[in-house]
Symmetry: C2
Subunit: 453 residues, 2 copies
Amino acid sequence: MDKQNLLEMIFRKKYEEYREATEELQPADLARILDQMDKNNRLVAFRLLKKDVATEAFAYMDPDIRMDMVEGFTDAELMRALERMSLDDATDLLEDMPASVVKRVLAQSDPKTRESLNRLLHYPEDSAGSIMTPEYVRLRSTQTVTEALNTIRQVGNKAETVYTCFVVLRSRLVGVVSAKDLLLANPDDKIADIMDDNIIFCRVTDDQEYVSREMQRYGFMTMPIVDNEGMMVGIVTMDDAVDVLTEESTEDMQKMAAILPDDDAGSYFNTSVWVHAKQRIPWLLILMLSATFTGLVTQHYEAAFTALPLLVSFMPMLMDTGGNCGNQSSTLMVRGLALGEVSTGDFLKVLRKELGVALIVGSVLGVVNGLRIFIMYRSSYPNDIVNYVLVVSISLFFAIILAKFVGGMLPLLAKRLGADPAIMATPFITTIVDAGALVIYFTLASWMFQLPK
Amino acid sequence: MDKQNLLEMIFRKKYEEYREATEELQPADLARILDQMDKNNRLVAFRLLKKDVATEAFAYMDPDIRMDMVEGFTDAELMRALERMSLDDATDLLEDMPASVVKRVLAQSDPKTRESLNRLLHYPEDSAGSIMTPEYVRLRSTQTVTEALNTIRQVGNKAETVYTCFVVLRSRLVGVVSAKDLLLANPDDKIADIMDDNIIFCRVTDDQEYVSREMQRYGFMTMPIVDNEGMMVGIVTMDDAVDVLTEESTEDMQKMAAILPDDDAGSYFNTSVWVHAKQRIPWLLILMLSATFTGLVTQHYEAAFTALPLLVSFMPMLMDTGGNCGNQSSTLMVRGLALGEVSTGDFLKVLRKELGVALIVGSVLGVVNGLRIFIMYRSSYPNDIVNYVLVVSISLFFAIILAKFVGGMLPLLAKRLGADPAIMATPFITTIVDAGALVIYFTLASWMFQLPK
């Protein structure tokens, strides 16, 4: 079943067949087909769906396309779509909508939903609060297993998950019990006896990536979230956590590649050429202007390379290798920090590790590069060949030490200062390492060749 | 409760207190504390744990440390640890162990476990087979809901999850039913009536990242896996899928940073300086030697820059900006391919998008850079300033076009040829763009300034 099949049914007015076919599809697959249609066909195809099929598919559609569709929705359609979505998904959608639409939606919601939506809309972006849902199964510790299962049957359809249930006493979380525990327990057991009262939880203000990594570490499918007074306010489920982890990895990759992440930008093709340019120009400009500095360093040694023009041809190798070395270290730091393998207190440990690696890497590359220069230039520059080999290889060695030092330390320093380590990573490091490597190179060359200053 | 507290209890021989304290901890937290201990304390602390606490914590420990501990285990301890792990985790552990140990383990396992382990050990690395487990709940379509719940109660403790159950007929998967459906259904309903028979599955030979992304897309917590004959052979659960996604993102980041991923390497600090160096040297060497090529290009234009030494000082800016631009495009491609947003058939669409972006970016950067050069050098080079501005800005413009073209196309081409797009990304692109940018620059300069060749 693909886009063509479905559109054909619509064009031939075989609406019954269309409804049956779409009902058979997985919501995620139907959503993908709708995503691929053009704007007008999409709205028609969407309106011809059975109501619950439509709302289910809607939740899986591309966020940008969803926003687009909402603009064509009647109020009734919008309310229905939102009602069927879980509260956290509905909040995500509302967050991107114009204030007037949000107001209208809130006015028409029932008071309880309105209160929940309002609260969710106020949590800071990227906090646990922004991805949690208040729809979870609450149990009491005095219930029996049979009573608990009945509670699940009553509220299960409205809860985001029934597989982890939370035992709450006066809004405080006192225990956790899984549906598996309930199914395997004796029907007359008391919840108090089978629940786990050694509870792991996160706070509503915790960073969403931290919460998601904690869930991964503990192997949890659901994480309870408490507010600053210790009251249970919601849960984060694994499907949202996985999306957060994917998003955060993408953002880190983009930042390391000097791209400004844009929360409003969609997937690669759904982002316009203008938005792409807007995401890419700022850092390129900053880096281009900071390379002016490297240019001035070069200009300072003009006398050296006009006397010995061959020096210029080793510049690209020196700068690229330095940049690559720094990049390796900073990438390992950024990822290590994101995964919690490295923390900001590890300055000395990282320093020791990176300097050790730099000594080995610098020696190997220095020797190989020396050999390469010796073989390539020994016949053209028989008198100076040893000097060239020594100048380039020794500079390379120290450029690598510098690169690994800066690449290892700068992300940690950024994190310690509350800045984003990924932003500091590739771009800044390249500029520092480039300029540093050239200073080492030309200073050494001027000295060894006894060049005019 | 931390390392110090626990070690103190052991040193003071308060074993009962130690056992109680460790039993209260989450397995993941206990595992982390054990990870932090030194080798000898760790084995003592581990052996003093209650047996089931020990085996649960073992499953959460750092894989490298686990391998280390296994070497000190008696056969009985090893068998017990493996028995309590799920089969997929046990397979992971066995995969890294010496063949002699594996043989001993298999010989001592019961025949059924041996058969399963043997089969799992033979699936290719990174395939769905290598992360799946055969321990799932099988139901029959003729069962009633009550009977199905009884089946879950009987086999639930040995299954990896009870929340998604699979309806199997002569080894073929005919339907899926969730524990939620079972809990909310009428006790006398037949499974055939409530099961979903429109089944999404993956194949045992599918790539593990593909399977994990499909699970994310469909919002599945469990994915059924069938073999080439269509027989159901196991399930992949979300906890393993999340680990795969994290691992694959880390690997892509490493490859883009010219680091050779090493499956046997542990976290940053658990990897020795030698292994770090081994992961970093090969690509640095290749790139260093390929920068020789850029060096030769430079050397070719020696006459140009000895006549006009100022030309050299714009080289770093030109090379860095070109590299950064290519990097942006290739990063977007590598991530887009990994997330399934971009496919290898999208050559033309990518080309159009990247060239559009390149035109905007090239124009903006060209103009800003022209202004910068004009302001900085107009008094020192009053006669040639217009030529310098034009040469540098026009070269920059075309270097950006080249960078976006190569950065956008090379990863797609790599993927199409069955190679790894991340490997082609940053490193190769830099070399091509560097050399290309310098050729454009010096050719244009020679022509505009009418320099000797």
